[in-house]
């Protein structure tokens, strides 16, 4: 089976062609063809996994099975094409095929009646193919190719409902922003190629092998390996929506919800994490550890930053989007603090429960017809299946220990961070708290209480949508048992992927770490999550703390923050803001001290921070992107005025350019001869 693993991405490609060509004539309007293909891929992935982990193939192949064929000759060198099977790619194959097949089944119900139904499944197949190619590619060129293809198909999927202008914009934004990161990725590939002379990852003259041999300090003492790692990380920053390139992901929620479940939970955004994990030897080879430090802090910052934004969102999918950004930050952060296994483990578990959350939110949207949680409420009774599966995944996301998958992976991350970097650990704990807080806010607002808008007639979704939910909820609980601290099958299989040398390096870095159950970390992790749930409960479920009371005082601040005043007339805005802030502070101090004491204060501070982050995000990060766009556009517009349409002007410009060039020639050769024309002329 392992020899035929190349069929796994090929089947969806064939399905893509068939569905695109025959579309409506195919069974199930093409849906069955696509689903059959991805299910076949799933079956094959499972077979590969069984053979690899249980059938002893891993031992037989020494932990790596790699097949290479020659692709294109460049000079005397060949660019190869090939696939490799190791524990990392098997895990990714499983994640991608499981989520992709469930999402496609779910889509039968969700996309029912869409005018472009077949094309949707065609795009889905192409996307799955690109993603599957990415995870088994053993060559950086092939990796980059499928990486770009993933971006392209996500462009098509996010913009699938192109009737909405916002969807169009979101699709374009996603494509362009991730491409900015890809420039870094490409530069990283170039640098690695220059340093190692190889494009293949594995093998005798592969990238990883050569990294150990070559000296890593470049000209002028530049730490080339660290730079290569950082450049590769740029690609991950773009794809995995890390700060400051995370702006595309919340907007990308304009796509159909199953697309969000696939792309923004399990596959495309995970590709960045996978990239860092796949290229982990590069980071380990960087003896300065600078690259990993950056990775860790970017991840940690993103994790907390996005989580706080999540508190203030009212669109169910946007909450989940920021949650995804935050959880991706967790994974990146974990990789940054040498939590190679933990990061991948979190990717593994997160894929299931986040896909489930997205699909559940899709079910809610399907049932109610709205995305605004302020209009929902009381859905628990009307949509029991959706509720229970959603709740299970929420608990998993919050990291409830022992009974959920997320609990295991989050704890492992914190355990590593506890050992290597306490700052990151603190951020992680705060993140865990915030995550629990906003997720339960979401759950309470959506499923509890009374329906807030009465013209919504919620109904449970059809069975074809519920079955994937149940399966994913099942996985959200049980997927974690492969990596418990007592019997960490995950770690045992994943670490050898690094190869003997880097395995040693990683072990040295983690020397002295307590492998196994760590009570301190457990208490912190569980405590923060429970505290978050508790806070959410007393604010939104049993309103001990009445947030509505402060809503007016807080509301105008929020509006003020969003107000254009700030951007347009900074001087005036600063004064007003100062005055308002002073007034608000006085008022708030009064309220807090008298009425609610500290507990409520925490809630407000978080929300304030969240809004400030949001404002910062909109103003600076989006602004930066806009400014770059503006500069590009303006330069283009200015330059085009050279083209006046008058031929004489063109010739004048030509002659002037020639004069400049000629003078440059003189300047370049002035030393080579006497330019003063004496001898020749009056000879």
């Amino acid at each position: 089976m392992i020899e035929h693993a190349w069929l796994i991405p090929l089947l969806p490609v064939i399905a893509f062609g068939l569905v695109l060509l025959f579309g409506r004539k195919a069974p199930g309007n093409g849906a069955y063809v696509a689903i059959a293909a991805i299910c076949a891929s799933l079956a094959m992935s499972l077979a590969v996994a069984f053979q690899w982990f249980l059938g002893g193939a891993s031992a037989a192949h020494n932990g790596l099975y790699s097949v290479t064929i020659q692709w294109m000759p460049v000079g005397s060198q060949m660019i190869d094409m090939g696939f490799s099977i190791d524990a990392l790619s098997v895990v990714m194959l499983l994640v991608v095929t499981i989520v992709a097949s469930l999402v496609q089944i779910y889509s039968i119900g969700y996309m029912h009646g869409d005018p472009r139904y077949p094309r949707y499944f065609a795009y889905h197949s192409l996307f799955a193919a690109a993603m599957l190619t990415l995870v088994i590619a053993n060559n950086v060129v092939l990796m980059f190719m499928s990486w770009e293809l993933v971006g392209l198909t996500s462009y098509l999927l996010i913009g699938f409902w192109f009737e909405r202008p916002s969807a169009m914009r979101a699709a374009k934004k996603a494509f362009l922003v991730t491409r900015v990161g890809d420039v870094g990725f490409l530069a990283g590939i170039i640098l690695i190629y220059l340093k190692t002379g190889s494009l293949n990852l594995f093998g005798d003259a592969g990238v990883f092998e050569n990294l150990t041999r070559l000296d890593v300090i470049g000209p002028w003492g530049l730490p080339l390996t660290a730079i290569a790692g950082l450049l590769l990380f740029c690609g991950a920053v773009g794809k995995s929506a890390q700060f400051p390139l995370h702006v595309w992901l919340p907007d990308a929620m304009e796509g159909p919800t199953p697309v969000s479940a696939l792309i923004h939970a399990a596959t495309m955004v995970a590709a960045g994490v996978y990239l860092v994990a796949r290229m982990y030897p590069v980071y380990l080879a960087d003896s300065s550890g600078m690259a990993l430090q950056v990775v860790a802090y970017v991840g940690a910052f993103t994790a907390l930053f996005a989580a706080t934004i999540g508190i203030a969102q009212n669109d169910i999918k946007r909450v989940l989007a920021y949650s995804t950004v935050s959880q991706l930050g967790y994974m990146i952060m974990s990789l940054g603090v040498f939590g190679y296994v933990a990061g991948m483990f979190h990717l593994f578990t997160h894929a299931f429960f986040k896909a489930n959350l997205f699909l559940g939110s899709g079910s809610v949207i399907h049932g109610t017809g709205t995305q605004d949680i302020r209009e929902m409420g009381g859905l628990k009774k009307k949509m029991p299946w959706t509720y229970w599966t959603f709740l299970i995944s929420t608990l998993s996301l919050c990291g409830i220990p022992f009974v959920t998958a997320g609990g295991w992976s989050k704890e492992e991350i914190l355990a590593v961070a506890w050992h290597t970097n306490r700052v990151v650990f603190v951020v992680g704990v705060l993140g865990a708290f915030t995550t629990a807080f906003y997720m339960f806010r979401l759950v309470y607002k959506t499923f509890y209480g009374e329906p807030r808008k009465h013209d919504i007639h919620a109904h449970e979704s059809p069975r074809v949508m519920l079955v994937p939910l149940v399966i994913l909820a099942f996985l959200a609980i049980f997927a974690g048992y492969v990596g418990t601290p007592w019997a960490n099958v995950f770690e045992r299989n994943l670490v050898p992927v690094l190869g003997h040398h880097y395995e040693q390096v990683l072990e040295n870095k983690l020397a002295g770490m307590h492998h196994g159950f760590n009570l301190t970390v457990f208490l912190f992790a569980t405590g923060s999550a429970l505290l978050g749930i508790f806070m959410a409960t007393i604010i939104w479920l049993k309103p001990v703390l009445r947030i509505e009371k402060l809503e007016p005082s807080f509301g105008w601040l929020a509006k003020l923050v969003e107000n254009k005043y700030y951007i347009d007339e900074i001087y005036q805005a600063t004064i007003i803001r100062g005055l308002m802030a002073a007034a608000w502070l006085a008022f708030a101090f009064d309220k807090w001290v008298i009425d609610y004491a500290i507990v409520n204060g925490v809630g407000y501070l978080t929300r304030l921070a969240s809004d400030l982050w949001g404002w910062f995000d909109r103003t600076f990060v989006d602004g930066l992107v806009n400014i770059i766009g503006w500069i590009t556009k303006t330069t283009g517009s200015a330059l085009r005025y050279l083209q006046t349409g008058v031929a004489q002007h063109y010739i004048f410009l030509l002659v002037s350019a020639l004069v400049v060039i000629s003078l440059a020639v003189i300047a370049g050769h002035i030393r080579e001869e006497a330019w003063i024309p004496i001898a020749g002329f009056y000879r």
Binding site: R640, Q643, T644, G645, V646, A647, Q648, I651, F652, V655, G680, F681, Y682, R683
Partner: protein, 108 residues
């Protein structure tokens, strides 16, 4: 100053060629009508021809290639003039004028 039957250094011819060339360039920039610009092009081609023939004659290893090149240049100048004038006449038929600086239908 050396004396000979000719007494004309090659630089005299070359400078003359350069002058003619630059006058041609100047004409390309200031002439308004297409035919005027065409005349200027002929001046520039002539400048190149003077160079070719001057080099062909003055080189210590005499070569006929300069004159051959010049013959081809003259031939192509004729062809170029033919094409140019054809285009100009067609434009005149369409627009009733041949002022190049009025032809700015396409810009941006």
């Amino acid at each position: 100053m050396s004396h000979s039957a000719y007494g004309i250094p090659i630089t005299w011819f070359l400078t003359l060629g350069a002058m003619l060339f630059c006058i041609g360039l100047f004409g390309m920039m200031v002439r308004r009508s297409a035919i005027g610009m065409l005349l200027s092009v002929e001046l520039m081609l002539n400048a190149a021809n003077i160079n070719f023939i001057a080099f062909g004659s003055y080189l210590k290893l005499p070569t006929i290639a300069g004159q051959i090149f010049a013959i081809f240049v003259i031939t192509l100048a004729a062809a170029e003039a033919a094409v140019g004038l054809a285009i100009v006449i067609n434009i005149y038929r369409l627009e009733q004028h041949v002022d190049v600086d009025k032809m700015t239908a396409m810009k941006l």
